[in-house]
């Protein structure tokens, strides 16, 4: 089969990968394994269904930097834990803790981050607080 143009390839590729988007299960993350390293925020996407934090880090001292992608719960759920769309900005230095992707790719489920400049800690587990009348 020949594609008429590169555009075909892109459109087909987009169609083929589309079902893997967006509202996904978190089973792809290894919750028995926790990774911690210092990183620099490159992007913070405050979007449904999952907020995304992208960071640049050298997992081992002296190694070249890599981009790592952290998945979180929804903006609504995070707002109730004290987050906002301004919780992180590009350039922020953080100590990041997460459950890595099981396939070894550079991503994980966010656990907590400490902003190194202020010491502020942000966590994201929706299961930590389950009762009426939360403050």
């Amino acid at each position: 089969m020949k594609f008429k143009s590169l555009r075909c390839v892109w459109v087909l590729a987009a169609a083929l990968t589309a079902p893997a988007f967006a509202h996904h299960s978190f089973a792809m993350f290894d919750f028995n394994n926790t990774v911690t390293f210092n990183a620099t925020v490159t992007e913070f996407r405050w979007t449904n269904p999952h907020v995304v934090l992208l960071v640049e880090a050298s997992p081992k001292p002296g190694a070249p930097t890599q981009i790592w992608s952290m998945e979180l719960t929804s903006p609504g759920n995070l707002t109730r834990m004290g987050w906002s769309r301004k919780s992180f900005k590009p350039g922020d230095r953080i100590e990041l803790q997460f459950n890595p992707l099981r396939d070894g790719k550079h991503g994980g489920a966010f656990n907590r981050a400490k902003l190194l400049a202020t010491g502020q800690v942000l966590t994201s587990s929706v299961r930590d607080a389950e009762k009426p009348g939360l403050k």
């Binding site: 079902p19 967006a22 996904h24 979007t47 449904n48 269904p49 991503g107 389950e130 009348g133």
Partner: protein, 277 residues
């Protein structure tokens, strides 16, 4: 006036034909929703107070699926076992990655998100967060289900109050909507599903939705389960807009400088990758 039997027969035939034609063209008075009367608004104050925002107990969802598993029929159970193994292995299929609504009944089974109830005359409305389209209209004006409802993601719901319990009957759900035990494990209901719910306060700020789900093509019996919700009154719990498809895009600029959504790069697992800068 004297009419022959033959003339009478012809007249009857013409009348029947005219009536049919009139019905076909929609003549006659349409069914209407009458304007609510002051007494109906006042009567809402007698209903139990379900105001505030309700958050689900995820711990209870997790525990309940183990203690009270879905009674899948043998064919469904085999498929579920495969999905469960994939989830356990960390390469889940993901039931909602296409961003279609969690729908009935999965919204009431596995939601991670807040919801709220609105009471208006003749109706209870559920509004949810995330998915962009979590909305259930439960008619409490005494109407029956349509004889042959157009299937929808949340079905056709009618409700009535038994004391302080709202009893909801739902039919007309699309056969494609999932009965799910997690975001990665579940199967389509495959049609003819019937859901009965009894929604009631069990404490000042705890609400239970007791569900009875009958899905003859995938379940061996009616499955009874419960969704537990906790009331929140802090304003930071107010429901916020959540459009699932937004996650497929990042914010960018077009050639003219307009703020536009551009497709976000994502891996097969749905994990987001950095923008291509």
């Amino acid at each position: 006036m004297q009419c022959s039997i033959r003339e009478l027969m012809v007249a009857i035939a013409v009348a029947v034909a005219l009536s049919a034609a009139a019905a076909a063209f929609g003549a006659g008075d349409p069914e209407i929703n009458p304007p609510p009367q002051p007494g109906e608004w006042a009567a809402l104050a007698q209903l139990p107070d379900w105001s505030g925002v309700w958050t689900p107990s995820l711990k209870d969802q997790d525990a309940r699926m183990k203690s009270n598993p879905i009674p899948w029929n043998p064919a469904a159970a085999a498929a579920i076992a495969k999905l469960g193994a994939a989830e356990k292995a960390g390469n889940p299929q993901g039931l909602f990655v296409n961003c279609l609504p969690e729908s009935m009944p999965s919204w009431m089974l596995i939601t991670h998100n807040a919801l709220e109830f609105l009471f208006t005359p003749g109706r209870v409305t559920l509004l949810g967060e995330s998915d962009g389209n979590r909305l259930r209209r439960i008619y409490t004006d005494g109407r029956p289900h349509p004889a042959d409802p157009d299937p929808t993601f949340h079905g056709h719901s009618i409700g009535h109050w038994e004391g302080k319990t709202l009893v909801v009957d739902t039919v007309g759900v699309l056969p494609e909507t999932y009965i799910a035990s997690s975001e990665a494990v579940g199967l389509p209901n495959n049609g003819d599903m019937h859901v009965v719910e009894r929604i009631h306060l069990v404490g000042p700020d705890t609400l239970h939705d007791d569900l009875e789900i009958t899905a003859p093509h995938v379940l061996t019996r009616t499955w009874k389960t419960t969704l537990i919700l906790f009331r929140q009154r802090a304003k930071k719990y107010d429901i916020v807009e959540g459009v699932c498809l937004q996650g497929n895009y990042s914010e960018g600029k077009d050639a003219a400088g307009n703020a536009v959504f551009v497709p976000a790069l994502q891996t097969e697992g749905g994990n987001t990758l950095p923008s291509d800068k």
